[in-house]
Every structure is written in C-alpha cells, then in structure tokens.
C-alpha cells in the first residue's frame, strides 16, 4: 500500500495523466463534512452528482438507508440525518 502511495505522489509530481484520482467538489453547504467523511470512506463522492438531479427526498432517504442497512456503513443516526438533509437540499428535486 505504501508503495502505491509513493507511486501516486510520484505520478502527481511528474504531472502525468496516469494519476486519475477523481477530484469531486461537492456543493459547500451545512453537512458537507459529514458527507465527505462518511460516504467518501467507501466510495467516490462522484456517486452524488452522478445521481442528480432526479432523486426526491424519499429517494435520497432510501439511498442512505441502503448504504447503512445493506452495505453496513457505520454511520450514526445524527450523521445520517445530516447527510440526508444535505443531499435532499443540494442534490434533490
């Protein structure tokens, strides 16, 4: 893993296009830190803009619930609420 991390930094220094770390700038609004910290631990934050804008409030509730219940994401209730509120407000219909 350390080897990979070093290779990654070297690639960045060289300015090559082979380092393809995706940089996703989410909308800066209350709750964004909870989204980045929790959702971003397992998957790219790209899934959020990718699935926008078409989900309604119930749709985002279902997605966050799926991540916790089906995928075992260790997100506590208050973070889950902050995340769904953020997603509904910034990426929902």
């Amino acid at each position: 893993m350390q080897k990979f991390a070093i290779a990654f930094v070297v690639a960045l220094l060289a300015g090559t296009a082979s380092a393809e770390e995706q940089v996703i700038k989410l909308k800066q609004a209350p709750g964004v830190d909870k989204v980045e910290g929790n959702c971003g631990a397992c998957h790219s934050l790209a899934y959020i803009p990718m699935n926008s804008v078409y989900l309604d409030a119930a749709g985002w509730d279902a997605e966050v619930s799926k991540m916790i219940k089906a995928f075992g994401a260790p997100i506590d209730d208050s973070d889950a609420k902050a995340i769904t509120d953020y997603l509904k407000k910034n990426y929902g219909t």
Binding site: M1, G15, H43, A46, M50, A70, Y91
Partner: protein, 406 residues
C-alpha cells in the same frame, strides 16, 4: 484490508493531492461531449475522460470503485480492443493479483472432492476460443425514464472480445459434481472496503455452468486479461449479462442450496414476466422477481452521434447488433420515424454471442434527418419502442433514434 489502514491511506493520498495536484480543470478533459444523450445532467458536471494503466481514455463515472465507460467512438470495430474495454466494479478493495500466489479453489457441498489450480494449471488445460459480448446488466441505466439510482451508464457499459480458456465444465469434472448440486457459486479476489459490506459473490445455475460456452478466460483478444478486466482469470458466460462474469476468479463452489447474499437478492433482479427472456434461473426465482439472465436483443448506430452534421446526399451509417446468443437475423432502419423499415446489410459473423456489424446507405435531405435502428434475433425477438421500466434500469433495448443534420 481493514478499514483503518484504508482510511489512513486515503488521508495520506488526499493530503498529498491537496499540496501537489494540478487543478483538474487545467488538464482534464470533460467527458461531456462523450456522454450518451439522456443520462442525468449531474454526470456532465464532474465526469472527465481518464486513463487507467493499460487503457485509453474512458468516461470516468467513478474512480473508487472504478467504473469507466467506453465512448461511442470505441464501437466502430466488431472486436473491442482491450485498452478500450469498459471497467466495472462494485467494491473498491481491488488487489493486484500476483501470478505466483494465484490459486483457484474448487470445492463445496455439491462436489465430491476439492482442488486448487494455479494459473499454469488453467493454461495447460484444453482451451476454447469464443467471441462474446460482455454487457453490464445496467448498461443504459442512465437512460431510464424516470431515472433510477445506480451507476448512470450510457450506451458504453459493454464490449465484445475473443475470450480464451478452459471450459468450466472440464474444471467441475476435476472435483466431481454430486446430483444434489443445483448452482455454482463464484467469488473473485476483490472485496469491500469495510468488512460489514457484503462481498460480491454470485452464482449461476448448474446447467449454465456446464454449458459448452461457459469458460474461464485466461486471455482476452490474445493477451493476458487487463488487470481492470479481471486478471488473471475471469468467468465468461456468453449471452448472459456481466454480473455473472466474475473477475479475478478465486473460488468456485458447488452448491446444494441457492446462493444467498445481497448480490443475488435484492440486487440484479427483474420483475417476473416483464421481459421475453428464455433462460431462467429457477432456483433463485420468487413470486415477483427473478435474476437477470440473458442479454436482450439490441442495436446501436456507432458511425454517427445524435445531431451529427453530414453532407446532403448518400450517407453510410453503420453500427452493431447483438443479443443473448440466438444470433441476429435482421437489422432494420427507418428514416420516417418508424412507419417504414428497410433492411441493413449485415457484416462479418463472429458467432452468435458476438457483436454483429451492419451498415446502411441512406439519402440525407437538407435539414434534419431522423434515423432509427432495430434488430431482430433468430428466435424472432425484437427491440421495444417504449421502455419496459424496472427499478434497477436493466434490459433497456429501446430502439435508438438519432438526428443527422445535412
């Protein structure tokens, strides 16, 4: 990998990126012009063309797990080159498989014995070659109306390659299959970031596992499989969607009970009776849902994008047609919105599981020219004019319609 080391690594990488990275806008190419019309608008706000090791630029829908789509322009050949082939993973912990350490374990309650095979063992067995389309179940999900959550693929979560390797049937014979065996379980070396996330484990019915076309590919287009397409060995289930084509295959299990787990149910399911599929996965079926199985008949114009500018007069359009392995009988073109249809000329036949190329000469008039395409397979199945909606966005074979501007 445990969650702690993953988190530490991510922290390190993100920190390094913050200091060193050149802003992506300065050099990354937006994927916007390469997207399929109709995918959710959010995709264009972030997706870039990006180049994985050993690949040409692909539409980067997500990098973790890696989900990269082939743009339309990569479908102008019947065989999709390895470096242009799409990439799809569910979970983000993807090891580099070391050939010396690689073992494929075959065991299970439905087997008489168990064995472990090295990559050399697989390479020494009798091989077969098969040209087959690997299409993600969710290809075209992004075109669903209404949109449904998931990776928002356009046309390009598919490719067609020549796959080479031993038959799964020959491998199962090495352990002996008991009469109680009903399914063959499959697992790959990749896994989840957190141990509470269900590992990507699948199964296929025994009858499909011992089908002559089901092989373990150790070569793709005459080369070792690219890492991101399942090196060193993956299952090939020609005619069935990609969910069963397990990458980095390390475990084959003869099962006497239906495979459980998230990825068999509720994932990868279609409503019972909604689609005209022949292949059923009976041991997994319930009253309302059944596993997706075969690829529905489909076609695509690949010579021109929607809205392309052409010269008035003769224009040759071309593209691909494919299905679940029955073979393509006809491809038809309509230039009047579907009222009348004319047969396209079919090109070289690489076998029933392959893309079938086709071409058609039309007369473009000044202004807008509508062009629709529809394929019919050897058992008379055709594409639909209206979407058969389902919550996962599977089996979208709505006839494609584009406009050419002369």
């Amino acid at each position: 990998m445990d969650s702690l080391s993953r988190r530490n690594f991510l922290g390190t990488a993100a920190g390094a990126a913050g200091i060193l990275i050149i802003p992506p806008s300065a050099r990354a190419q937006s994927a916007d012009p390469m997207l399929t019309p109709g995918v959710p608008g959010g995709v264009a706000t972030y997706a870039n063309m990006a180049t994985l090791p050993g690949k040409k630029p692909l539409i980067q829908l997500s990098d973790r797990p890696p989900n990269y789509e082939s743009p339309l322009e990569y479908f102008r050949t019947t065989i999709t080159p390895n470096e242009e082939f799409f990439v799809r993973y569910h979970l983000a912990d993807i090891p580099d498989v070391n050939v010396a350490d690689y073992r494929l374990k075959i065991d299970g309650e439905g087997a008489t014995n168990s064995v472990e095979l090295t990559l050399d063992d697989l390479k020494k067995m009798p091989h077969v070659d098969i040209v087959a389309v690997n299409q993600c179940s969710g290809s075209r999900r992004g075109l669903s109306t209404p949109h449904v959550p998931g990776v928002q693929w356009g046309f390009g979560a598919m490719g067609c390659a020549r796959w080479t390797g031993p038959k799964l049937k020959d491998i199962l014979e090495k352990v002996g299959i008991k009469k109680e065996c009903i399914e063959i379980g499959l697992n790959g070396a990749d896994g989840p970031v957190f141990d509470k996330t269900p590992d990507f484990i699948k199964s296929i019915p025994l009858w499909r596992a011992i089908h002559e076309s089901t092989i373990i590919a150790v070569e793709m287009n005459g080369q070792p499989l690219p890492h991101f397409n399942g090196f060193p060995a993956r299952l090939i289930v020609p005619g069935w969607t990609g969910t069963y084509w397990m990458k980095h295959l390390i475990h084959i299990e003869a099962l006497t009970k239906p495979q459980g787990g998230f990825w068999m149910k509720p994932a990868y399911r279609i409503p019972v009776g909604e689609f005209p599929v022949r292949d059923r996965f009976i041991t997994q079926e319930d009253a309302t849902s059944t596993p997706i199985t075969e690829i529905v008949v489909n076609s695509l114009i690949t010579s021109h994008r929607d809205g392309a500018k052409v010269q008035a007069g003769k224009v040759t359009i071309s593209g691909l047609a494919w299905d679940g392995g029955y073979g393509i009988r006809t491809v038809q073109i309509s230039t009047d919105g579907g009222s009348t249809w004319s047969a396209a000329k079919l090109g070289k036949d690489f076998g029933d599981y392959a893309f079938r190329p086709w071409s058609f000469d039309l007369h473009a008039k000044r202004g807008k020219n509508s062009v629709m395409v529809s394929a019919t397979n050897m058992i008379g199945q055709t594409q639909t004019s209206k979407l058969l909606f389902n919550g996962a966005g599977y089996n979208n074979n709505v006839m494609q319609s584009i406009t050419l501007n002369a």
